[in-house]
Symmetry: D2
Subunit: 426 residues, 4 copies
């Protein structure tokens, strides 16, 4: 039996049943809004386009995809008024509690699911307990259902506390495509935030462990290269073709061969490739969907410039054109020691928390970094918190699940730190 | 105004309106059968599985594809009895006329369309005269509608002639995927054929030109390689992946680099490739759909063996598995001089034929070669005939069309040659 | 016991003992000049620079190499007067016999050896009979010792015949690097040639076989690409390098992947590569020595243009510069039927010749094509003759040798054809 | 005017004039031995094979190279008795001073030069002051002449001090090929060492700066792959070749593409490649001299295993054999904080030292790590010290030089630390 508030466990399971990928969190946003309105007396609630700097959305899917998920959310009974606000893929919300004089504290939680099927194994808890994903091709495989729930829980906890100041909770869409962070960071809501917290469950830390200050976010950028050549009959006139697949294969090989950098870790991945139409036609078109990363934003830029050079030269080598589209990106970021200290100290006193770690490396990317850097650049402080949870399968695998006790640990740690920040600047 | 029999022009246009790709020629077969039965008193008519060696069908699409085209043929009003015979993609027919003592002469015509849309240009004759394809994703872009019509016309012409012997016309499905020739070549119907003719319209020869003896068929084989590795988070743990796209790219580069052969022309093409699921995941799976060709069957085999070695080593290099599936193939073949002489001689006397060429090179592949070689191996003779036709767009392009006069030229040339063969062995 | 004149056998063995590679045929030229002067009453004898269009020499080695072979020729006792003429690598000679009114007939024979050691196997005839190469790193492994000898023999035979006209024998240097043909073709001596013959022994034809009309010379061009990047410490700062070896490897892979051409055979080979200085330094420089070929000069040009594009793009891909040097080349050529007929007819009557073939394909390259095309372009006729010889090892291998009977066959066939040409134009 | 002892400056310049690469330090060793014997009353002096575990020498050059440098050392007047000991490339020495009860302290200095020419620029100090390298193809371009001199200076300083304990100075050969460290680490002389110091001048630190505790040594391994295929005439029969250069190019491309590792920095470099014999021959042989590195020994092993897999599969892909030879290697290592503290403290008091840094990253490799790890594994402590020196050109460039003041700084810092260790364990 979980020590977490049963209502919040229910909410988490409901969200788990209806996972929605990036910019399609129609049902999810509507459900969060509904929950907040029924439980809390908020001072402000900004929904959809009101919560975002619309020009900065990245990685938005095409209209057909948006439309079909929108209709599905309606079929599931999502609130029509909220839905209307979200039309066109403007998902997410910002909830504000004002509690007198004091600093403005932000908490960012992400809410999107992943485009992958969930396990049907009877031993998989969501199957055993009946809250497996109802969507064939989507799953909460990274715990954002728990994150959204923690966001709600923290608002409730602070509402009931003697916190002095303002609390803003950012329910952010589209983290999985690093597409939503920037549009929240560039919205008006971040401008007065003095302290920003963000969090993630799991990351190979067990239930009962809290990490104060996760660093090592890799800066990331997505890019898509489309090579266009000339088709030709592969038997009759191979010399008349300009082979886009040869260009693509050369680019793939040489992208992975970009020199390592002595300043730190770098990454490149040609994650999706495709090309050609038939065995007997010299391929006219080919495509690479790739990403580059770096331990710093500069290292990511280094990789991007090299990758671009490779793509362009590979096209030229095979007499093809290449169209390069830059996709979403996210910078690196570092937690501030002052906040790390507060979080570590509070976490030590939370029931069920047996181990508090100071600082750990993520090794992946996260667009919470946009909000963290925005706050830091305007003179504020930021800290990313890890909330340990036993997870049977790895992140992004079909058997991922969250130990629901950790939802309570997350709420108490974060709410405790916020309360502390509300009393005296650290 | 075409000099070709208006009924046959009508038939050709009707077939043109309902193009059906490989193994889905349900309406086409039914329509041919109906036409033959209404016009002729055939001695035998073998339909669908009766016309084929079923084990030797190659490149058959999956059941869903078969089913949807089957239903469409029914919707178009195809004869239900014939349709029943064709169920499961056993399309095509063999029509037999017996006219006393004499040699058995075979004529092979192919009947399938291509999976590509037809031009909507108002200047495109099928648009202007209202017989453009009714199927969005299919078109007779290689003249097989004319070939089928010629098959019917030749049967009629011979029925009315004093030919002595037996005529078998093979209405062959699935030439475009070199998938149907072998199953007709391995059927019982070929066993007693003394002379085999096959034909093709166009091939850059203008109306009024006949080519007696097309050679230079490249032997061809299709293959599909599926590479399987291990996915991993591209930012967090790239070293835990086994990258199927790297294996694929290495294979593509090295396949194109297989040494040229001094014995003659060879070809390779990685015509379709794809791999990976998302930018941030090390690709677990990748696929190459390729073909190899050679001026002789041996040269094609040389290319195949090298390609197989490349695929396997590329997989091993990146610690992946590879599953290699051999697809359809077709051998090379050569026309026999004795038949070339007969065809050339007859063609010279056909009205409208202004130029007779002896021998030309195709440079592509054709599975009529299976039938030609089968007949030659059992001691018979074979000849492939080119029937010139002005075609505004190239073969396999959206504006391809046939000058209908050439249908008459084809019928008269082929029927004339068959008649000659029926009187005295050449 | 050979049926060939023993003096000529002696001459051939003497040349075999002193093989000299391209543009270093100092001893060889001097020895041929000496032989001609002692045996014949020539009308003209042009030696070294007098025999060549000096600007058109290709593939000339550096001065040190020329100098050391020059000194060696002097040490072997080559005639000092001739040597003086040859200084700087102007080797070869043109010998002229004038025999009254009549056509001018040219015969081209090549005289250079190869830079490779000869077998020491006691069963290798030159070892057994004591005429193995005295030069460690050179060998007559392609029969040019026999060719030079045939040139001398033909001059003698014609001197003793009733041939009417002018005979010019071109003792051409540097065929093995396709470096000498052009400079002879561009010399004044070719301008009045009406008929040109060239010949080669062996080519897998046995003793007793003559091929009238060898075709299928592949046009060829040499090229050398030097990639220059930037070195860097491979451990400390790999990102500061611009890796010339990566550029080179990419170029090699993509050069071999240049599309095959439907017009005929093409070739490419990255025959020599090198790069880098030490394991721990990012390579600053790399080099490819390559050649492209084609069944026609156009096909060779096609390959060259593609290769150039690959080299340039590969350099750009790795931020390197590339310096492309075009080396020697040779065109394709075809024998004229009129001369083929004459040669075939004469060969049929030569004692020891048991089989006369009309036309065969070489599949390699030869710079005799420069002379053939020059003559053909000025309205003359040309024919390349194959003189069968049993050769125990393949061409360019250490156990290659010539059956000396074939020297006689070559002389009689060629002299016979020349005599016939001197009587009446064919 | 340098503050360093003029005799030691002289010694350094003498060594600079006679640089000798790995395992060829015949003159250098003899000169060091002579200097030690004339200046000091050593308790033990182990020379050549006595100083090494002979089985563990790595990267020893061939006999011809050893022989010619040996003869040159003799020509320079090196002591014959010492030379005799060094025969076969057993260079280096271990000098021992025993000064009563107390810990055994080791100091390791390396003594080899680099195989590269020294600048002739008149502004280059060794040119201006007449001590430029007398060897055309060798240079002290990494300051090991200064290291050897510091070794001698420290022995003198300790001999004159009240140090209690034993001092062993390891004059190590062959650091530049990471070939000598292991054989000294595996010798008996290391077994009783309680504290080990090693040092390097320069590394971009200016004169007056001391780094206490250099870390970040990359573990390294050298490897050499030789690919063997089959030659063939590139025009006549390309299909008969098995192309070793294609195998090599594929291997190069895929080696650079080995996945980055999330545990830390990795490196790979194909530093030297070569292959083939002539433009017109399909290359029979090709070679890659490469190295792999990793922030830890495990990461280096990861790279090695992947590289080996790539080499083997690339060979198989092109039907070649590959012979893989593992060359020298070196592990990573870390300085112990206790010694870092001692060195930092002592350095702060050395005249001329203006800046003491604690810990810095090398980013390269060093085989001092073998000795450091050996001592650490037997329970001792180790520390690597950086001695700042203004160097006009970078390490391993032709204008590298050492500010001779830094020799004094090095001696005083190291001797001071040793003295401190002799009084009380830290």
């Amino acid at each position: 039996m979980s020590t977490t508030d049963p209502d919040l466990v229910s909410l988490r399971r409901e969200l788990h049943r209806k996972p929605e990928p990036a910019w399609r969190e129609f049902y999810t946003t509507a459900r969060i809004v509904e929950e907040l309105q029924s439980r809390l007396d908020l001072d402000e609630l900004h929904v959809g386009p009101e919560a975002l700097a619309s020009d900065h959305r990245m990685g938005v899917p095409d209209e057909d995809a948006l439309e079909s998920w929108y209709e599905q959310a309606r079929d599931h009974g999502a609130d029509e008024d909220v839905l209307t606000d979200l039309e066109g893929g403007y998902t997410g919300a910002v909830a504000v509690l004002e509690r007198g004089e004091g600093p403005t504290v932000g908490l960012r939680v992400d809410i999107d699911g992943l485009p992958q099927p969930e396990s049907e194994d009877p031993d998989h808890l969501p199957v055993a307990e009946g809250f497996r994903s109802e969507h064939d091709e989507a799953m909460h495989a990274c715990g954002h259902d728990a994150h959204a729930t923690i966001g709600v829980g923290v608002l409730e906890a602070i509402a009931d506390s003697d916190f002095q100041g303002t609390l803003k909770v950012f329910f952010q869409p589209a983290e999985e495509v690093v597409g939503g962070g920037k549009s929240m960071a560039k919205s008006d809501h971040i401008a007065d935030v003095d302290y920003l917290l963000a969090l993630h469950v799991g990351l190979d830390h067990p239930t009962g462990e809290i990490v104060a200050g996760i660093d090592g976010f890799l800066a990331v950028r997505h890019l898509e290269a489309t090579f266009t050549g000339e088709p030709a009959h592969a038997g009759g006139h191979p010399e008349q073709g300009r082979n886009a697949v040869q260009a693509m294969a050369t680019a793939v090989q040489n992208c992975y061969g970009i020199p390592r950098h002595s300043d730190g870790q770098t990454r490149i991945n040609a994650g999706v490739v495709e090309g050609g139409t038939a065995a007997n036609v010299i391929p006219e078109e080919a495509r690479i969907v790739a990403e580059v990363r770096g331990e710093t934003t500069e290292l990511m830029e280094y990789m991007y410039e090299k990758a671009e050079r490779v793509m362009r030269s590979a096209a030229e080598m095979h007499d093809c054109e290449v169209d390069l589209e830059i996709g979403a990106d996210a910078p690196s970021a570092t937690s501030d020691q002052e906040l790390v200290d507060v979080v570590a100290d509070v976490a030590g006193g939370v029931e069920g928390v047996e181990h508090v770690l100071e600082r750990d490396q993520l090794g992946g990317s996260e667009d919470a970094t946009f909000l963290m850097r925005e706050v830091q650049q305007q003179g504020g402080l930021a800290c990313y918190v890890g909330v340990g949870t036993d997870h049977p399968g790895g992140h992004h695998t079909s058997t991922f699940d969250v130990d629901e006790d950790s939802i309570g640990h997350g709420i108490e740690t974060v709410a405790g730190a916020i309360e502390r920040l509300g009393h005296s600047r650290p």
